[in-house]
Symmetry: C2
Subunit: 454 residues, 2 copies
């Protein structure tokens, strides 16, 4: 019987996260305020607690994982590294295909990897309650779970259209004790202004961020938590790649290529960065390693965007970050992989892409679901639409290996299950899913609105 899953004991949960900032060739570009000057820590302290900010700005290579966080991780971690033998057979490829399965977390995705330490760091900093926003609910449910683990109340501004149309993740948040509000609300000025303009405003992620941040700034004891993009979030997610490295070592293999979906970047960075640490340290096994960020053709941030300072949100509320961007007011088409509909990208992922240490590829929607269904029928697990992007790119490479005969070792991050996305599969199976043309004109238009810096 060939080995299917490589497991680690919970004593093997890594003791430190990996901070790729320590291995960058050039110093990271600082976030800038509205005045064009680097944002000072005291301004950030209004919304994030000290221990989180410390990690956000750290240049240390290895950052210890608090014991209390490792204990909560142990509820589902280490997650399994699985060999997709049946998928290899279906494809007839000589490549070995491995995936890390993050859907085993209580919330069903990789998001709790950062929600748990963020809740803990807030707890020890004396934060009394956490406020955040969520779109379809992946991040909001993860933070609700994490807050519950440490007795920290969580309020979630959930985009109203999702609140109404996607009740299941809202119900998960409530089951874990999270308070969920349909955004826009009457509780904030941003919300009231939006409702004054249009009482039927369906909400947006940008507006929900504005409401959450506004409440935090005006409510002592409250802090804000973000689920992707920022350095500390990607730091926490490196638990994925660090475990995977131990698991590959157990079976005497090392990946030739790594694939992960890339929206805000925490999924990709979490899986790939720990392997880049080997490259930086001169480990020969990593000499020819290729890390591929996979994005939708309808929101091609790395493959079609520009590397520039831009706002992190749609309305220009956040500091300016140096990143690949399609323009902060670019509105991606409504693909099912909501987690990849982001105009920008993590500054760390962006810098590494700019320095050609990582690659990127864009894949169209229908092909991602084709790959997801092929995977489900071979391996059982039904993947989230975001995860289907990584699977697509990995299958494409496995098929190339079939042409060339190369027995490459391929690794992708299966970031979550699709249990709450089954209607997307219904559209695909019913032949109702479409691709979107490359939105060249919309990107051109939004890039004209990039803020001027320096």
């Amino acid at each position: 019987m060939s080995q299917t899953r490589v497991l680690l004991d919970e004593t093997e949960i890594p003791t430190h996260w990996y901070n790729v900032a320590a291995d960058l060739k050039n110093p990271p570009a600082p976030p800038l305020g509205p005045d064009g000057q680097p944002v000072t820590p005291d301004k950030m302290l209004a919304i994030f607690p000290g221990p989180v900010l410390e990690q956000e700005m750290s240049a240390e290579r290895w950052i210890p994982i608090p014991e209390e966080v490792r204990q909560v991780y142990a509820l589902w971690r280490p997650s399994p590294l699985c060999r997709a033998t049946r998928l290899e057979q279906v494809l007839g490829t000589p490549a070995k295909i491995f995936y890390k399965y993050e859907g085993v977390s209580p919330a069903g995705s990789h998001k709790p990897n950062s929600a748990v330490p963020q809740a803990w760091l807030n707890k020890i900093a004396g934060t009394k309650r956490l406020v955040t926003e969520t779109g379809a609910g992946q991040w909001g449910s993860s933070l609700s779970f994490a807050g519950q683990m440490f007795g920290l109340p969580v309020r979630v501004y959930m985009v109203k259209v999702s609140y109404e149309q996607k009740p299941y993740r809202r119900l998960m948040m409530q089951t874990w004790g999270g308070e969920v509000l349909a955004s826009p609300t009457n509780l904030t000025k941003s919300g009231r202004d939006a409702l004054a303009q249009d009482p039927n405003n369906p909400g947006s992620l940008g507006l929900a961020i504005s409401e959450a941040v506004e409440e935090v700034v005006n409510t002592p004891g409250s802090k804000y938590a973000l689920g992707s993009v920022l350095n500390h979030v990607i730091l926490h997610q490196t638990i994925i790649g660090l475990e995977a490295k131990k698991q590959f070592e157990k079976i005497g293999l090392y990946p030739d290529m790594i694939f992960a979906p890339c929206g805000g970047g925490s999924n990709f960075g979490g899986a790939a960065f720990p392997f880049l640490a080997d490259k930086a340290a001169g480990d020969k096994r990593a000499n020819n390693l290729r890390c591929v960020a996979v994005e939708p053709t309808s929101c091609p941030t790395l493959t079609k965007g520009v590397y520039a300072y831009d706002f992190g949100d749609a309305t220009g509320y956040t500091p300016l970050m140096k990143m690949y961007t399609l323009g902060h007011d670019f509105m991606p088409p409504g693909i099912h992989a909501g987690g990849l509909r982001y105009h920008g990208d993590s500054p760390l992922v962006s810098q590494l892409f700019n320095e050609k240490l990582i690659e990127a590829v864009a894949v169209p929607q229908v092909a991602t679901f084709e790959a997801g269904v092929m995977f489900a029928r071979a391996e059982g697990i039904i993947p989230a639409p975001e995860s289907c992007h990584g699977i697509r790119a990995c299958i494409d490479e496995a098929l190339r290996c079939k042409q060339t005969g190369e027995p490459k070792t391929l690794f992708f991050n299966l970031s979550g299950h699709g249990h709450f996305d089954m209607t997307a599969f219904e559209s695909y199976l019913g032949g109702k899913l479409t691709d979107f043309d490359y939105p060249a004109e919309a990107i051109q238009a939004s890039l004209e609105h990039l803020p001027k810096v320096g």
Copy 2:
């Protein structure tokens, strides 16, 4: 760090299932045909293949698990044995609480443990396609997955009201390539008759069974598969308890009490029977072991039913089985734990209960969700409504231990996650869930319709 999960490597997947029939004090009562005579194998062969029937009637204690089945099991098995340390702390109990988590399977419950071997045994018997029925979709999705693993087409008659109101599990079946029909259909006489009486017939499990069996009898190459009640199904589910025994051995513990939900019996039998094997073999650790089947107060088969021959289905289509029953036309109230709404019980579970080798307890609906939410907030996993029954009984015992100071080792089977049952949690959290009075009159009425035998 105290150990949270006890893991086994896939080489430790048991090589044999345990057949409790070999350890019964009295011979099992045979199923009877309409003529009151024991059903002959050739009649059964019209709907089940030889290798399945062989297991159904076997008196062997240990039955080998085919290598092909173990390879598919390895996609998610061995499942983890987890210690609910956080729940113990919330309860303030000196008891140690352990649970086996079966929600890690692709279908999210314990059902694939039997779907996979049934698909394989059909495959080697030359079956060309499988036909089954499903209510909310747990069994239909598991069999669709299992059929896909061995290239066997699967048709599922799904109760129409669930087909329309619970699309997510239907979509899982379709994603795995299963063909799903809303029952009643026009394809069978049973379906046509029902539709002739009422074109808007919402369907029922009994009717869906009739359609599936009718089609199989009339379609060469097709066979039927059932997800609970029968001996071979419980046999396959013993993989749960057999793994748990290995896991308890690793940590040097042995359970004092075992709790599992009991509808058709495969969940309970699968978890408990392998420990009864120790008792039968004179293992001293099992001397005082207590196994508790947990059922809803609204469908109290073991606790309020009679031990008698009755039909397995509502309409009197199946052979008569000796079992605890509330009467085959007893219609339980519409509780959310659909898997426990069954008028009868497995003949094996029934006989063991009658011989006082196991116990039973009934718990009311609201208390089960209270327990489920308490568990989710302590341990993360959101349990299925059926699983909440086992949790409730286990928590009650843990609270008794708090009174007495006994440091008992308690074990329950967490048979599945609640991702597709979130609206049930909405009802509970919104205070809209009710208990049902003990349906004494309805039970009295249906018991009057028990078939006369001998």
